[in-house]
Symmetry: C2
Subunit: 254 residues, 2 copies
């Protein structure tokens, strides 16, 4: 995100009319930066939910996107041909296209990506604060619960700070749950509500299945709202054939 | 823990003089229950840090304890011969013996075992609360951060509630960290302190090495204090040869 402004200014100067996408982990701030430079008409944001802790050419992996989710922003005003081009890019890389509004995307990743990082940092700090004995006893629950605290701090900071509002809302929800657990432990009440509902939540994640969106016609009346509704309900696009040919006043993009 | 009282009462009735250990996940409450039945003289508690989500004979696994930690309680007053017998049991199962006071054990496992479960439940609840889109986007950080929320709720509840005081202290430490992160996000300040210290904490865990305690002489002056000091500093016992023969007024236990 810190690099987006300068890059967009260069794009506005040298290539003001080219189709434009991005791979930044937040979408609404990027869309705002795009709008500030009058580039929105050719822009459809993207977020491939894949990556490693490596960077540079040597980290190239042709299979990186296989079976991952690639969010394609589906905000009102998106150009159908640009949307289709971005979706095709994701599909040709092997990813599944998840259509979402930029704001919804940011709220969702706050819950399932940014919040896990914040909790992992807190767990790592608390777990190691008392020294050697706890480290000798740490097993799978601590190892897995702190794994993403091993991510480069600057990367975690950049993605969390860029999505501060949505992360704050998700963090507040978790703090409410933890505060209730704290009260129960303190008052020697049962924490059954926590363990039962948390277990059910994990099972709902394990059992969640993506369903296939089909017969999308970019540019047809209400297409963006339909795509957002489908994405909100767990729908994804897995094949080029699911996207009907696009015919717009501007022609097709190949 | 809920089964300990009745079991100990039966032991007190039918086998009041046999050497006695246990495998419960908290140690101070068990030691108290033992003391209430005047069984402390023959008791040395234990906690093998291993297990699966399975139970019953069909879940038998001869390699379950390989390279795991088995805490052997080293509280003042422990009988050297019983302590040695329990340590040998752990070593013969393939585990490393970690000596610790019962109270210290409970504080350590609150940090690295019980707290991870509570945070995983909270993350599972928050991550799934908004429905399908977030589930479509959930990747490694959410999967790993919520893994132990898949544990049987009754088991999580039993171990957390039995260790409520120590867990409360660890939870409060994490809540302090999370509240500071919340304030930083809310006031648009940097969360660099969190990400940098959390990352360093995870690295300290990854790099922690157990060192070998040697020349332990159960029954020698100050032996229990020496063992506790060693365990507190990350020391473990890996071999029967590290434990010198025991000669006590009561003879040896084989």
């Amino acid at each position: 995100m810190p690099a987006v402004g300068d890059m967009l200014s260069a794009v506005a100067t040298y290539a003001p009319h080219c189709p434009l996408t991005d791979v930044v982990s937040v979408k609404a701030p990027v869309a705002r930066a795009v709008a500030e430079r009058d580039l929105s008409a050719r822009f459809v944001g993207g977020h491939p939910m894949a990556g490693t802790s490596e960077s540079g050419w040597a980290a190239t992996d042709a299979g990186l996107f296989a079976d991952t989710a690639w969010v394609v922003a589906s905000d009102d005003g998106a150009d159908p041909a640009v949307w289709q081009a971005v979706a095709e890019l994701a599909l040709r890389c092997g990813a599944a296209v998840v259509p979402a509004g930029s704001g919804e995307h940011d709220q969702a990743v706050a819950r399932i990506s940014h919040l896990p990082h914040v909790l992992a940092e807190a767990l790592a700090l608390t777990g190691t604060a008392s020294g050697g004995l706890a480290l000798s006893l740490a097993a799978g629950s601590f190892r897995d619960g702190t794994r993403v605290a091993g991510t480069a701090p600057a990367l975690v900071r950049a993605m969390c700070e860029a999505n501060a509002d949505a992360l704050l809302a998700a963090l507040d929800e978790s703090l409410d749950v933890l505060s209730e657990a704290r009260s129960a432990l303190r008052e020697r009440r049962s924490i059954e509500a926590l363990t039962t509902s948390g277990h059910a939540a994990r099972l709902s994640y394990e059992r969640a299945t993506r369903w296939e969106i089909s017969d999308v016609v970019p540019g047809a009346p209400g297409w963006l709202e339909l795509l957002r509704d489908a994405g909100r309900a767990g729908g994804v696009i897995n094949a080029l054939s699911a996207i009907a040919p696009v015919h717009t006043a501007r022609g097709t993009i190949s």
